[in-house]
Structure formats: structure tokens, C-alpha cells
């Protein structure tokens, strides 16, 4: 359901963007240098080249990039708009990629087929007019391979590989094929989407991709086996959010986002309740310095947790309203987000982190372990100090049973500076939840028991907050 909601939200946003373009005098304004998200001088693949456009008009993108990769020709502009097609004229069987202005939110589409990266960085398909009971399959020649229903869920690595291998995606209703879409260019488009979202980091390209300068560049080492691991199964993958919000977003879209936030909070509450119910009162509970609370008090405590989160959400809503003032709605979201983190959230976060940081049994051993993790992240993974520290904190709070950061930390996901604030908030909220849970539930939460949906819920929650804030 959540995925359908995501699809709907994206569709609403794209529609609102399109309707904004319907406004006659917004057309010229729709072109803005701030919409440039891609450096066309960085080749997408070996042999690609940046070309200069001859413009007769007064404005437009002066450059673009064109090339040939995986059997398809492509061209893309600085605003991310791209076309992929088997013919050099890019006139038939075209996969088109359109990005929301000024954001890294891009959608690839070919006829009824759409593909995009969801909030967790997982590829997801959308196929127009698919109904319950329809069957999907890949057809190549006389071979027909049925696809499971989960093809409409976030794709895992095998499904991505399968779809990227070519053929035709066929939707059947009964025996009749209602939709046939060529998958030519699927691999190139999905790779492009990842590459754009990762701000043109070669680290997200698949193994074997013709990366420019791959024989000499360090980027070769960045091509890891985990690159194509489905992020839906990798909770450590950090989503990349909008760098700026579309100013023309409609009120309907905002309302949808706010409703989604509230829904997520309710779901979070249910999650906490169910976890609390399922957790056994064993030794861990006895070892906990905090005595387990009586059932009524537990309920009260959970309510307090939820209330605290809801208060936090309300404060974020207020911040959204404050930032909806056009004078404050700067496109660069990094700087304006800072006051939110410090003003509204500093107190509870500081308290929570303070409690967590004083928790280790052996401070020296703990410090050594953290230093080791930091060293690993910085030297082996290549993250900067701030990001590494953030990830270590996140890892500490998420699952302390996983001492090897290599097993838990993303090795292929570049962390965008523009998302630092969001990630900070995410980390703070994550830290808040287990820390307080420990007070009421003595049993440490096993990482295996962690529902990925929890992280997804929070991600979506903050994504919506971030979107609203950037107005």
C-alpha cells in the first residue's frame, strides 16, 4: 500500500509540475539555471562526449552529453532530461527520463512503463492501467517468463537483472495482452537514474559498466558487489532527497504529504505497540537498570513516546508553515534546515544522545572500537569524517550486535552534502526510539527482528518534512 501511495504521490507531484507548465507565463520561468543537476562534462560511459548546442533563442542549455552504452544511444541535458533509444536519431522505442525541476527526483518512462528510485533508493516500476488479476511476463521471441507480482514492489537485484536483460514486458488480462513495452534501454536508464541520484558518482555503476578512465581511476574500486543490492533489503542505504522543492507544488500535493506523515506516525505507533506486546520479559529485562513498568505504566510510557513524536511532528509542521513564507523558501535546503535541527530538536536529541553515549560498559574499549570503525569507513570506504561519524552513531544505535561496520554500512551509497541535515534528523530520531524503548523493554532488539518498514516509514516521514520545508 505504501508503495502505491508513493507512486500516487510521485504522480501527483509530476502532474502538479506539468500543470504548472500549463501556466503561460511560467514557461520561461520554468527554465532556470538552478534546475541544472547534472554536469554534462562528466561522461556517463566510455565514449560519451559533451557537445555544445547551437541555440537560436535567448535561453536554454548550452551543452548536453551524448553517447552509446549497452546498445542504446543517449543524450541528456544539465537538468537531467534524457532520452535513450536503440537508434542514433532517438526517434523510436525511446526511454525518456524527466526530473522534477531542480531535484534529483527523476522518472524514466516508456509508454505505460515508468521506473524510478523510491525514497530508499530502490528501483520501482509503475505500469499504467494494471489491474488486479493481470499477469506480467517477459517475452523474448517465443520464450515467455512469468513475473511475480512483486515486480511492482521495490525491485531486488535478480529482478533488476532480469528486466535489464531485454525483451518485452507484457501485461496480460486473461489471455489477452493489454500492454507490451520493449525493455530496450532499461538497464541504461536505471543505471542513469542511480548515477544521477548519486550525483554522478561512478561508484553506483554496475560491475562491468564502461566507466571512463576505469583503468586508472580510483573509481574502479568503488564498483562494489553491493552496488546492485536492492536497497529495500538494505536498511543502511541512505535515501537521497530533493535538493530543492518544486515551488509550483500544489496544495493537494502538500495535503497528501501531510496526511502521509500523520499516517506514518499512526503506523509507527502501531509498530511500537506490537513490538512491545511481542517482546518477552526475560533476563534482559532484569538486567536493565530501569525496572519494568506495570502494564498501565507501560501503556502510559508508550503513549508518552508517541506523544513526544507527535509533538515533534507538530513542531515540524509549524516549521513547514513558517518556511512556506516565500522569503524563506530558498532553494538551497541545507542552510535553512539548520535552525530546525537546532531550535526545535536540540533539546530532546541532546538528551537522548547523551544517555546513549554514557551507556557503554567499557568506555576505553568502546572508544577503540569506534575509532576502528571510523578508520575503516574513512580509509577503506572513503567517506569523509563527518559522514563516517554519523554512520557510526547510526550503527551504534541501530544494532550494536554488528561490530563490523563493513557488514552494516553502505559501501556504495555516496552521501550528499545537501542531505546531511536530513540524515542527521533521521539518526537522531532513530536514536531516540531505541533508547527510550530500552526504558520500557529490557530485551535488546535484535537487528533481524527490525522491520525494514520502520525505517522506510521514518524515511518517508522526513522526506515529507524535508519537502515541505524547502518551500
Amino acid at each position: 500500500m505504501r508503495f502505491f501511495l508513493s507512486i500516487s504521490a510521485l504522480a501527483v507531484v509530476l502532474c502538479s509540475s506539468a500543470s504548472a507548465q500549463e501556466q503561460p507565463q511560467n514557461d520561461a520561468e520554468a527554465f532556470a539555471s538552478e534546475n541544472a543537476i547534472v554536469d554534462t562534462s562528466i561522461p556517463f560511459a566510455i565514449g560519451a562526449r559533451e557537445a555544445r548546442q547551437e541555440l537560436r533563442g535567448a535561453f536554454g542549455w548550452p551543452t548536453f552529453q551524448e553517447g552509446l552504452v549497452e546498445g542504446v544511444y543517449f543524450r541528456f541535458d544539465p537538468d537531467g532530461y534524457a532520452r535513450f533509444a536503440p537508434s542514433p536519431r532517438l526517434d523510436t522505442d525511446v526511454f525518456e527520463v524527466i526530473c522534477r525541476p531542480g531535484t534529483l527526483n527523476c522518472l524514466g518512462r516508456k509508454g505505460p512503463l515508468g521506473v524510478y528510485l523510491n525514497g530508499q533508493g530502490a528501483l520501482q516500476l509503475q505500469i499504467d492501467e494494471v489491474q488486479n488479476g493481470d499477469t506480467l511476463s517477459i517475452v523474448e521471441g517465443v520464450t515467455e517468463l512469468p513475473l511475480p507480482k512483486r515486480v511492482l514492489m521495490p525491485l531486488d537485484a535478480r529482478m533488476e537483472t532480469l528486466l535489464g536483460s531485454g525483451g518485452e514486458l507484457v501485461v496480460k488480462r486473461g489471455e489477452a495482452a493489454v500492454t507490451r513495452v520493449s525493455l530496450a534501454g532499461f538497464l541504461a536508464v536505471t543505471t542513469y537514474l542511480r548515477w544521477i541520484t548519486a550525483q554522478q558518482d561512478y561508484g553506483v555503476l554496475p560491475r562491468g559498466w564502461p566507466v571512463p578512465n576505469s583503468t586508472t581511476s580510483e573509481t574502479t574500486t568503488a564498483q562494489t558487489d553491493t552496488n546492485w543490492r536492492a536497497p529495500a533489503s538494505n536498511n543502511n542505504r541512505q535515501p537521497v532527497y530533493d535538493r530543492a522543492e518544486d515551488p509550483a507544488q500544489s496544495d493537494a500535493a502538500k495535503a497528501t504529504d501531510l496526511a502521509e506523515v500523520r499516517g506514518e506516525l499512526n503506523a509507527l505507533r502501531d509498530l511500537l505497540l506490537s513490538r512491545r506486546t511481542a517482546a518477552p520479559n526475560g533476563e534482559g529485562a532484569a538486567e536493565n537498570p530501569n525496572e519494568p513498568l506495570p502494564p498501565t505504566e507501560e501503556t502510559t510510557g508508550r503513549d508518552a513516546e508517541v506523544k513526544q513524536l507527535q509533538d515533534l511532528a507538530q513542531s515540524l509542521m509549524k516549521e513547514i508553515e513558517r518556511l512556506q513564507d516565500p522569503a524563506l523558501a530558498a532553494r538551497d535546503t541545507t542552510t535553512p534546515m539548520q535552525p530546525l535541527a537546532t531550535d526545535e530538536m536540540a533539546k530532546p536529541v541532546t538528551t537522548t544522545l547523551g544517555a546513549a553515549s554514557t551507556a557503554p560498559n567499557d568506555p576505553q574499549a568502546e572508544a577503540g572500537r569506534i575509532a576502528k570503525q571510523l578508520e575503516y569507513l574513512m580509509s577503506e570506504i572513503g567517506l569523509d569524517a563527518k559522514t563516517a561519524l554519523m554512520l557510526v552513531q547510526s550503527g551504534e544505535l541501530e544494532g550494536q550486535s554488528s561490530p563490523d561496520p563493513a557488514q552494516t554500512m553502505p559501501t556504495d551509497q555516496p552521501v550528499a552534502e545537501s542531505n546531511d541535515v536530513v540524515l542527521d534528523i533521521l539518526a537522531e530520531l532513530r536514536s531516540q526510539l531505541p533508547a527510550e524503548s530500552e526504558q520500557t523493554n529490557p530485551e535488546p532488539i535484535e537487528p533481524k527482528q527490525t522491520d525494514p518498514a520502520e525505517f522506510q516509514l521514518l524515511t518517508e516521514y522526513f522526506k515529507s518534512v524535508f519537502k515541505a520545508k524547502s518551500h
Binding site: E22, P24, A51, E54, A58, F59, P62, R89, D91
Partner: protein
């Protein structure tokens, strides 16, 4: 015996002496006669062929060349120069009864390679619908002219413009005045402010105007409207020069202001000795200026004539060669023969440049100030334009698609398309500047439709007229066009579209927009004669008959009508 012999000898000696004396006299006399004759001959030559200052035998120093008037066809052929028509509101009711439309003239080339088209242009007063369209088109400029600079936005409220679009704005001002939508104080105010701003614009590397300027500040900007510089466009400058010549010839009181604008520019890298037009851009790697030939068949010739109107001699740019033809609906459509793969420049065939040549210059050569409107002295241009019209009418007749194709802006990416008759080897190819095929952006361009309507009085252009004449938003101006595949109007407003529509409507009233120059010498030709500025900036001398661009025809059409 001996005495007799002696006597004979003396007689012979005497005769010999007499003969010698006579011979000597004859030789001396002949020599004297020859010398006298020669002297008389030489003296006579000196007396009857003196070198007159400024005459044919006088090699004029550069200092004095500017005083010589430009030689036009009316001077050489002793013909009557055309006259500027009165404003529409000042025309007598029977004005068009006396207009010579050449209806009895057969189509084809004449002995001077002039061309009489198969079709006639429309002439007459504007009716109510046309007047309303003119007022709406003018409203675009009322709305989007910046008070601070006098520059008009190229596209809606996006504050940037090019010289091409500024020329369209000037066209709008001239048309609004001549159609009596505005009066002279507003004409003078707008043009003076505009020209003053353009004179003060910071040039691209102190050479020529930058490709794009911010209309609010007048600062040179890049394609994203941020401070910076791109280079300059010879085509844009060529169109601007056409309109500089039009307002100078029509409104002599603005002549000095016009001259002072152009005398700030350095043409040394724009028109080459062999007569090609060069634009400039900045090398991204080195930051250095790169000069590159600019223009393809259609636009190149139109821009070349703009330069020629100011004394330059863009001989090669004005030639059609190298060109090829593509047979579309049995019409040989001409297109530029330079290979895009080699020259990295597309060869788009669109209507616009032919329309501008026809509307503004009457398909005439720059020196022609005397031929009637129905005769085009730049014959091949008129003949090619007829083909451009015919192929579009044929498409309508054979497929049902109303067709009036041009480059035009579109809403959203890619912001601009070349909606072509032919390009990249394909007919009816709609492509973006980067080369993507985007057939959904194919449209009946409003400016092309009304331009065709003005220059070709046919049943087909009546249909175009009905499609376009009410295609406007009274609040903003004329729409850019009508999508061919039924997506409705191209809901965007541009200076170029509204300017060309106004030009088309003015052409119906007044005919060819360019009128003859009525003065003698010009500051443009006399300024800086005491310095080396003219030499350094490649300012031309007043063109003489030998400097005229040639009237030519092409091998496909050798027939001559005498």
C-alpha cells in the same frame, strides 16, 4: 676628250649633291611632321582627359571616400526610387487602387535575373480582425518592454533577449506606428531609449554585442541569464542590421543615433574578405574566442543582405552554393549542402528566413531601390521562397496537415524546436537544438502562417489565416502556434512571433518594409576618417556599382524571359 669626261663627272657630282640635299630635306620634314603630329596628339589627350578630383581617374584617398554617396539602382539605371508609403491612417481611401501589383506580368526570371513570382502578395487596409490581432500583438511589447532599458523580453516575462529578438521588437514598434496604433512621440521615445541602451551595452570582448543580454539590467549574460558572455551571432547581428537600415531610411531624424550604435562595433572578425559571415563563441577549455562560420541556406543569405545594406560585401554568404534539393511532394526543396557531420551545424529548412526576406526586403538586392514590389531583383531568393511555400501547400493538400513550419519556442523542455520542412535527411522533421526528434512539438507556427498569408494570396493561406488570426490571449499577445497533433495552442508568447506577425500585417498595408535612403552621405561612412579606426574595425566605404552583390540564378532554372 679628257675635258668632256671631267665635265661629266662634275655634272654627276652636282646631281648627287642635289639628290642628297633633297633627301635630307624630305627626312627632316617627315621627322618634323611626325613629331608635330605626335606632340599635337599628346597635347590633345592631356587637354581632353584631365583627372578630376573624385572622378574616375582619381584614386581617392581613404579620407575622402566617405563623402561619395552609395550607388543604388535608381542612380545607375536612372529609374525612379520607391517612396515610403504613408501611414495607414493617412492613406486615402483609394490608395490601393493605384498600387501596381504587376498582375499582368508573367512569372519567371527576367534578363537581369530578377524574378516575378507565381503568386502575389496581399495588399489592402487591415480589416477589423486583423487590426485586433495587430493590437494584441503590440500588447506583448507594451507588457514586456523593460522601463529601465527599453529592451523587450524575448519570451514572456523571462528577462533576456538577443539582437534577433530585439530586431523583432523594432519591427513591432515600426508596425505599431505605421498602423496607427501608437503615435510619433511613443515611437521616438521607444526607439531612442532602445538605441541608447544598445549603444551602451558592454560588448563581447570589446568586439560585437554579446549573444544574450538581461533586459532589466542590460548586462551581458549567458544562456542561463547569469552574468557572463557567450560570443556573438552573425545571424542575429545581420537581422538587427536590416532593421537598423529600415528605421534609418524611414525615420531620418533617428539616423545619427542609429549610426552611433553601429560605430561602436568592431566588424573585423565578422565579415571575411571572401565574404563569409563569422560568429564567435568561447572555448570552454581555454576560454579563448573561437570564430566560426555561421549560417546555413536561408538564414545566411538574409543576414548577408543585412550586412550588405551597410556597405559590407558578404559575397559568399549571399550565394546559395553549396546547396542541394530534396524532392518532397514533387517540389525540389533547397537545403544547405554542407555536411552536418563535418561542420557540426544543422541545415534546417524552415519558412522564417524566407518570410523575413520577402516581407522586409521584398526579395530584392540591397542596392535595389527602384524595382516594383512584384519584381524581386534577388531572383533566386524569391524563386526558392515559392518552393518553400508550395511544398507546404502540397502537404496540406495531400495529407490534410495544415503546415506553416518555422523554428519556435515551446513550453517547458526543450524550450525551443526547429520545426522543419527538411533537416537531417528527413522531411517534416521536428528536432530540438541537440538533435532529438520530437514530433509532438510540430505546430502551425503563427508567425509563419501569417507571413505566408501576407506574401502568398492563395486559398491555402486563407485557411492558415482562419486558424491563426484569432489565436491570441488579449492579455499577453499572440500565441506561438497551434500544435499539429491536436494538443491545442502553443501557450507561450514571444517577441519574435509577435514582431513578425506585426510585420506581416504592415506588409499588407505598405508592401516591402525597407524603403530607400533619401539622404546623401552618412555618418556611418564619414566617421573616423581622420583615424585608423575604420581600418581596424573593418568599416566599409559607400558601395559603388562594382560592389553590388550579383543577381544570379541557378542551373535548375535557366529559362529567361525577355
Amino acid at each position: 676628250m679628257a675635258n668632256e669626261r671631267m665635265h661629266n663627272r662634275r655634272r654627276l657630282a652636282g646631281k648627287g649633291l642635289m639628290l642628297l640635299g633633297a633627301s635630307t630635306l624630305i627626312v627632316v620634314g617627315a621627322a618634323w611632321y611626325a613629331a608635330s603630329a605626335a606632340r599635337a596628339l599628346f597635347l590633345a589627350h592631356e587637354e581632353f582627359n584631365p583627372i578630376i578630383a573624385g572622378g574616375e581617374l582619381d584614386e581617392l584617398p581613404a579620407l575622402m571616400r566617405g563623402n561619395v554617396p552609395s550607388v543604388t539602382s535608381s542612380m545607375v539605371r536612372n529609374e525612379t526610387a520607391r517612396e515610403k508609403p504613408p501611414r495607414m491612417c493617412e492613406m486615402p481611401e483609394n490608395y490601393f487602387d493605384t498600387v501596381d501589383r504587376g498582375l499582368d506580368q508573367p512569372a519567371g526570371y527576367n534578363g537581369r535575373n530578377g524574378y516575378v513570382r507565381k503568386y502575389r502578395d496581399r495588399r489592402g487596409f487591415l480589416n477589423e480582425r486583423e487590426m485586433r490581432a495587430a493590437k494584441v500583438a503590440w500588447h506583448y511589447f507594451e507588457l514586456y518592454t523593460q522601463e529601465t532599458t527599453g529592451l523587450a523580453n524575448s519570451v514572456g516575462n523571462y528577462p533576456s533577449t538577443t539582437l534577433w529578438d530585439t530586431a523583432s521588437y523594432i519591427a513591432g514598434v515600426v508596425a505599431a506606428y505605421e498602423l496607427c496604433i501608437i503615435e510619433k512621440p511613443e515611437l521616438d521615445h521607444r526607439l531612442t531609449q532602445l538605441l541608447t541602451t544598445i549603444k551602451g551595452l558592454e560588448l563581447f570582448r570589446k568586439e560585437m554585442p554579446n549573444k544574450v543580454y538581461h533586459t532589466k539590467t542590460g548586462a551581458k549574460v549567458d544562456y542561463t541569464n547569469k552574468p557572463g558572455e557567450i560570443g556573438f551571432s552573425a545571424l542575429d547581428i545581420g537581422r538587427f542590421l536590416v532593421w537598423m537600415r529600415i528605421i534609418k531610411n524611414r525615420y531620418p531624424h533617428l539616423g545619427n543615433t542609429v549610426d552611433s550604435v553601429l560605430l561602436k562595433w568592431d566588424f573585423s572578425n565578422t565579415v571575411t574578405e571572401e565574404g563569409l559571415l563569422f560568429g564567435a563563441y568561447v572555448d570552454k577549455e581555454t576560454g579563448e574566442t573561437v570564430y566560426a562560420q555561421e549560417g546555413r541556406l536561408g538564414y545566411e543569405e538574409y543576414a548577408a543582405k543585412g550586412f550588405a545594406l551597410w556597405g559590407f560585401r558578404p559575397l559568399l554568404a549571399h550565394r546559395a552554393e553549396p546547396y542541394l534539393t530534396a524532392s518532397i511532394f514533387d517540389v525540389p526543396v533547397p537545403y544547405d549542402g554542407r555536411d552536418p557531420r563535418v561542420f557540426h551545424s544543422q541545415n534546417y529548412v524552415v519558412t522564417e528566413s524566407y518570410l523575413q526576406d520577402g516581407l522586409e526586403l521584398g526579395f530584392d538586392l540591397p542596392h535595389d531601390d527602384s524595382s516594383p514590389d512584384w519584381l524581386s531583383s534577388d531572383g533566386w531568393r524569391a524563386e526558392f521562397a515559392d518552393r518553400i511555400y508550395e511544398v507546404q501547400e502540397q502537404r496540406w493538400r495531400r495529407t490534410g496537415f495544415m503546415t506553416a513550419r518555422s523554428e519556435h519556442n515551446v513550453k517547458g523542455p526543450p524550450y525551443f524546436t526547429y520545426d522543419t520542412i527538411f533537416s537531417d535527411g528527413y522531411p517534416w522533421n521536428t528536432v530540438t537544438p541537440r538533435g532529438d526528434y520530437v514530433p509532438d512539438h510540430a505546430a502551425v507556427a503563427a508567425k509563419a502562417a501569417l507571413g505566408l498569408w501576407a506574401l502568398w494570396e492563395t486559398e491555402y493561406t486563407d485557411v492558415l489565416y482562419e486558424a491563426i488570426i484569432e489565436l491570441y490571449n488579449p492579455e499577453n499577445g499572440m500565441y506561438e502556434g497551434l500544435y499539429e497533433r491536436g494538443q491545442g495552442r502553443v501557450e507561450i508568447y514571444t517577441a519574435n512571433n509577435n514582431g513578425i506577425i506585426l510585420t506581416s500585417l504592415l506588409h499588407k498595408v505598405q508592401g516591402t518594409i525597407l524603403t530607400p535612403y533619401t539622404g546623401d552621405t552618412e555618418v556611418w561612412y564619414t566617421a573616423y576618417r581622420d583615424q585608423d579606426v575604420r581600418e581596424r574595425r573593418n568599416y566599409p566605404d559607400p558601395p559603388q556599382e562594382d560592389d553590388w552583390l550579383p543577381a544570379i540564378r541557378h542551373s535548375l532554372h535557366q529559362e529567361v524571359r525577355n
